[in-house]
């Protein structure tokens, strides 16, 4: 062991975080932050804030959550909605039963609780491989949906299991206008995205990818597979759970257990397929896509109706379109929009050389 130590004594210089370029350049990011935190809330109208931007942010967050466990750690989960609902119901109970706690703490605890539940349903991953795991996550999906409908305690003894958002205030700041709700969601989302971005570059992130790429080899170099997988499930559900709480209280306002059904899980899955597996920024792209395409189509409805395609059929066309896109992406661009954007940017960058 002598020679390496001597080399260490004279440490060489290198960039602390060498990565493939992040999705957005620094200055661009700065501009976006300015727009997101100042311009949008000031100039955005109700419709944009309530119906597009808030769900877009929340879904990006849910996508991020799923991406951690599926994109990075390679464990397919169809239970995202379930973990979202756990987060929502946990946060709700904290809000109404322990009014003393500040909202931020409620969210955090809500996230932790759903992290525990996530780890619980992740346990089978210690024995079960690959997509057999969807059984465990589907079990989570249906069981959670059932128990929240069934046990009215979770919904503060509302027999029908419906949650109704109490008024939200963070540090004396009343979150009641669309702009306020948007800023609140944006704040939480940004924090979690930054942390996640750091997380996936940390040792744990590397272990996740190692397990994803070849778990036998990972084991041979001394990575604790089980712990790594469970952490993936836990942290994923943590993020997803917080997303769920935001979905329930900052977006919808009132939710029933069936609001978190399998379809929502699928939507989240599509977000990461289209946005890009194991990409952080991709979640935004995927979510934007999932949120905007339907709205674009139904906005176009009027125009298309004159051509003889009425609203009903549009929805079917949209279903077909989504399905097709899923397949096309899986075949042509497994790394999703994120990679697409990446390549295009590279092209633009060294365009003079190429052309």
């Amino acid at each position: 062991m002598s020679s390496p130590d001597t080399t260490l004594s004279a440490p060489r210089t290198f960039k602390p975080y060498p990565q493939q370029r992040p999705l957005l350049k620094v200055w661009l990011a700065a501009v976006l932050v300015l727009i997101a935190f100042v311009v949008v809330p000031v100039f955005g109208n109700d419709y944009w804030l309530n119906a597009i931007l808030i769900p877009f942010l929340v879904l990006s967050l849910a996508g991020l959550g799923l991406n951690l466990v599926t994109g990075y750690a390679g464990q397919l989960s169809l239970g995202s909605a379930a973990f979202m609902s756990v987060g929502a119901y946990a946060t709700y109970n904290l809000l109404v039963r322990v009014p003393a706690l500040p909202l931020a703490v409620d969210l955090l605890l809500g996230g932790l609780i759903s992290a525990v539940v996530g780890a619980l349903f992740g346990l089978p991953s210690l024995r079960i491989k690959g997509f057999y795991l969807i059984v465990s996550t589907l079990a989570a999906q249906f069981f959670v949906e059932w128990i929240f409908t069934r046990v009215s305690w979770f919904s503060n003894d509302d027999t029908s299991g419906v949650l109704s958002a109490p008024r939200l205030t963070a540090f004396g700041w009343k979150i009641d206008t669309p702009a306020a709700r948007y800023l609140f969601v944006l704040g939480v989302t940004s924090v979690l995205f930054i942390l996640a971005a750091r997380l996936v570059r940390s040792e744990l992130g590397r272990r996740w990818m190692a397990v994803r790429d070849m778990d036998t080899a990972a084991r041979v170099i001394g990575i604790p597979i089980g712990r790594t997988k469970l952490l993936a499930f836990a942290l994923s559900s943590f993020v997803t759970g917080i997303a769920g709480a935001l979905w329930a209280f900052a977006y919808l306002g009132t939710v029933e257990p069936h609001g978190f059904d399998l379809n929502l899980s699928f939507q989240v899955l599509f977000i990461i397929i289209i946005g890009g597996m194991s990409s952080i920024g991709g979640n935004f792209l995927g979510a934007a896509f999932i949120v905007l395409l339907p709205i674009l189509l139904s906005n176009a409805a009027g125009a298309l109706a004159t051509v003889g395609i009425e609203a009903g059929q549009l929805q079917n066309l949209q279903k077909i379109l989504f399905g097709t896109l899923i397949i096309v992406f899986l075949i042509k661009e497994p790394d999703g929009l994120a990679r697409l954007v990446q390549t295009v940017r590279n092209r633009l960058r060294d365009w003079p050389l190429r052309a």
Partner: protein, 453 residues
């Protein structure tokens, strides 16, 4: 929005998104409200695809046809034309919310009168918003029971029949059939309900009724969507009850009837509730549905003058909204017409106070709250027997609370009873208790209904 910008310049897919942002910008632009043309706007969160399309297309078909009738025949309501636009929700809550937000601020300056989502989930999700935006939320025959208490829910109207009244009326009918409510003692009744907030809503009130009248009650949940009910019906078969109350939804209904047949339970002792009472609920069950009884707030059929008028002024000229003309006069269609009548009448009442011009949701709300349809008025409307007498007030956002019973003869529904009233006096305290609990949780101070607002 920022990310859209960030990938506007890029790949094919992103071009779509770029276009999206553009279109949206535009729509958002002209949604800026300014009192203009003499039109009243009805935003329609309709659903014509997905698992529940049958209900949506029928209901909104009837609603739209009636508004068309008012425009074509009467040139609008006191000269104010009705206008509307549809937004497909697919019965999905998020889409419903998006539609609400998109349409709430009116169309080309015409103010939004009221929203009629015909979906419990969407109603729940837009309940707070409606109150905040001052737009009445109409949940005809469904919705949140305690929103009957207008003191706490000024902007929500579970018109005609809320879930509590529904089951109460059914129990009263069973009482009649058994020769008086006192005869209910010892009777066995099973309630088969959909495993959702809608289905579970009536659990406590049914327990209360069972206690009051002393009948043996078993409530059995069918997990959503309800396309597998073998075990539930075996249990029913074992209990062998006198009556089964079916509080179903969508596919659950035909399956229930077929499963009943499997275990040999007679269809004419199954009573369907307000969401188990349409042709689409009975017909798919084929023979198994013959004799099936259900409640309705409005008979199906086409021989009411108002339906005839629609036929004459709208359908015949080829402006009918139904894709399948055979559904003209069916339960969901007529419900749409009834809903149209109530909305229009509310508008009329409001105009009497605020003047014959396009009114804001807030003003229309006043109209709903002072709605008063007696038989005389219903005759004028050509809706006598189709719509029940209805009188709303600040404290009572439901009104009627009566149902008629109909029986499926294998082809269509035949009305087999007059109006059966719910025991609303009995229900009121339960409703107020629940409403006040809600008010506390939300920090709402109920209006004082003694002085008219």
């Amino acid at each position: 929005m920022n990310f859209i910008d960030s990938f506007k310049r890029r790949g094919t897919v992103s071009r779509v998104a770029a276009a999206a942002s553009l279109t949206l910008a535009l729509t958002a632009a002209f949604l800026s409200t300014a009192q203009a043309a003499g039109e009243e706007y009805f935003p329609l969160q309709s659903y014509r695809v997905g698992p529940y399309a049958a209900g949506g297309s029928g209901f909104f078909g009837g609603f739209i046809d009636y508004m068309n009738l008012i425009n074509k025949r009467d040139g609008g309501v006191n000269g104010v034309k009705l206008t509307w636009s549809e937004c497909e929700t697919e019965y999905v809550v998020e889409k419903g919310v998006e539609c609400y937000e998109r349409l709430k601020s009116g169309l080309n300056g015409a103010p939004a009168a009221a929203t009629n989502p015909l979906s419990v989930g969407i109603a729940y999700a837009t309940l707070d918003r409606s109150t905040a935006d001052k737009i009445p939320l109409i949940t005809i025959n469904h919705g949140r029971t305690d929103s009957t208490d207008g003191a706490v829910f000024p902007y929500v109207f579970p018109l005609q029949l809320n879930p509590y009244s529904e089951v109460s009326a059914i129990v009263n009918y069973i009482g009649q059939q058994s020769g008086g409510l006192n005869q209910l003692k010892g009777k066995k009744i099973v309630v088969l309900y959909h495993g959702s907030p809608y289905g579970r809503e009536t659990i406590p009130v049914l327990d209360a009724l069972a206690k009051k009248y002393g009948f043996e009650l078993t409530q059995i949940e069918v997990p959503h969507p309800g396309n597998e009910q073998g075990s539930q019906w075996l249990t029913i078969h074992r209990i062998n009850p006198d009556w089964v109350i079916l509080r179903g939804w969508g596919v659950m209904n035909p399956v229930a009837l077929k499963s009943a047949q499997k275990v040999g339970f007679p269809a004419n002792h199954i009573i369907g509730n307000i969401w188990s009472n349409s042709e689409e609920d009975a017909r798919p069950a084929g023979d198994a549905a013959k004799g099936f009884i259900s409640i309705t707030t409005h008979p199906s059929g086409t021989d009411f003058p108002v339906i005839q008028a629609i036929n004459q002024y709208v359908i015949k000229p080829g402006n009918g909204n139904l894709k399948d003309p055979a559904r003209f006069g069916t339960v969901y269609y007529n419900l749409g017409v009834v809903n149209g009548i109530l909305n229009v009448e509310a508008l009329r009442v409001a105009q009497a106070k605020f003047g014959n011009k396009p009114l804001t949701g807030e003003q229309v709300r006043w109209g709903f709250e002072h709605l008063n349809l007696d038989d005389a008025r219903l005759r004028q409307l050509g809706a006598y027997g189709l719509v029940q007498p209805l009188k709303l007030s600040c404290a009572d956002h439901e009104g009627g609370g009566a149902v008629r019973f109909q029986q499926w003869d294998g082809q269509q529904w035949k009305v087999i009873s007059g109006w059966v009233q719910a025991d609303r006096a009995l229900l009121r305290p339960i409703i107020e208790k629940s409403a006040n609990a809600y008010a506390r949780e939300k920090g709402i101070t109920p209006r004082d209904c003694s002085k008219d607002i």
